[in-house]
């Protein structure tokens, strides 16, 4: 049990530290890589939550597919290093962003404090069964599942249409 707690704090610390560094990096390449580290730590947390299927899917989809795409974009566009930013000041949008971030932080703290009062009780459900996940996806959530797949198809076709040169 103690081992679980140590691992939780270790992975949580890695995830938070990596996420903070993602924002703090000047070089977008490093930001992308740190985001991958953060995703990995999250996957580790999923394993601790008794959901290895979710963890592996997280690595395959977010850590693998999506981040490779990010990396490609950053690599090919050759995004320049960002100028050092000042926390307050600068343009109006930046000030607005700071205000929003502070609001979000306050909201999150409030939500987490409430959650602390409720607490997580009882045994964790075993969600590692792929069979179970498949069944739920295709019965209880069939509309959302099918609608998402159609949406993704539309996006795919749209991307190809937009990328095609007029001949």
């Amino acid at each position: 049990m103690a081992m679980d707690v140590y691992l939780f704090y270790l992975l949580g610390a890695v995830a938070i530290a990596a996420s903070v560094l993602v924002v703090g990096q000047r070089n977008p390449m490093y930001s992308v890589l740190l985001l991958i580290v953060s995703f990995m730590a999250l996957a580790g947390l999923y394993v601790l939550l008794n959901a290895p299927f979710l963890a592996v899917t997280q690595i395959i989809i977010y850590g693998g597919a999506i981040m490779v795409l990010f990396l490609f974009v950053v690599m090919l566009l050759n995004v320049p290093r960002e100028d050092p930013a000042r926390l307050f000041g600068g343009s109006g949008t930046r000030r607005f962003g700071v205000a929003l971030a502070v609001a979000l932080a306050i909201e999150l703290t409030w939500a987490l404090r409430r959650l602390g009062a409720i607490g997580l009780r009882g045994e964790l459900p075993d969600v590692s069964s792929v069979r179970l996940i498949g069944r739920v996806l295709f019965t209880d959530y069939r509309f959302a599942f099918e609608a998402t797949s159609v949406l993704i198809l539309v996006a795919l076709v749209g991307a190809i249409v937009m990328a095609r040169k007029e001949s």
């Binding site: 991958i36 290895p52 592996v56 395959i60 850590g63 693998g64 490779v68 490609f72 690599m75 792929v130």
Partner: protein, 340 residues
Amino acid sequence: MNASVIAHLVLILVVFTCLLLSAAAMVYMERKVAAALQQRYGPYLVGPKGLMQPFADVIKLMFKEELRPKASDALLFAIAPMLSAAAAFAAFAVVPFGAETTLFGLLREPIELGVADVNVALLVIFAVTSMGIYGIVLAGWSSNSKYSLLGALRSSAQMISYELSYGLAIAAIVMMAGSLSLRQVVDGQAGYWLHVIPRWNVFPQIVGFFIFMCAGVAETNRAPFDFPEAEQELVAGYHTEYSSMSFAMFFLAEYINMVTVSAVATDLYLGGWHGPFLPLSLGWLWFLAKAFVLLFFYVWMRWTLPRYRYDQLMAFGWKFLLPLAVVNLLVTAGVVVYLG
């Protein structure tokens, strides 16, 4: 620490060492088979029959100067080969290679041959392989060289494209076995049909096996799909700027990936450690033999087939292999549902 934990640690060490040695053995086999196919002798001076040649190669590489292009990104340039090698080793961790055994009565309790038995092993292999792409992409980018960058782009595009067919071929097997655990997939292949034909997945899934092997060769960037290293166009692809041990690490990763793909193919399609004549406790010999045949096939193919053109490779992957994999998956699903 009890005996089974120690046995497990020893097993991990043995697997790690064997993987390292298998890379050396593959280098030797590659050079010898290539020589035989081209009517040359191949390495024969170092050690009996040139057997020590791979070790001589390693020593040579170790004493070479480590070079780094001035304009490269030092940190990522150093990390990239390690990432490649680490991903290659990690993938093998979930590959089982033998049934329960007491190692000729050496242990009181039998252990299962395989580093970790994970119930989502197939997905773990998938996840770790997709991590290996980062090693290549980072190597290409951090080298700050056009050859490296283009080589990395090509090889990652290739790996991503073929991963789809690879996954769909595996999905058909998962449907048949009803499990994502490699050990259960293997155990589902025990026994015989009509007392003669082994119940290996390769027979009902011959199309799947073809797709898996094609995609496997492309995933490991081997000839005839070795564009990342197409010398005429890209010098040496993503590892153009690498030298000494970091160069060696990329090669180590490539050979270990080949071993892993062959081992996984053995588990998925060729019945793993099940076979006639030998008791189940010696089944790992069957496993080794089958994996060796597949590895030999890899080398044989490299020195027999010419390289495709890049657009041909992409067309083959997307327009032929992927539709074939989808059809294979649908047919398999239909049959599985029909048979209940």
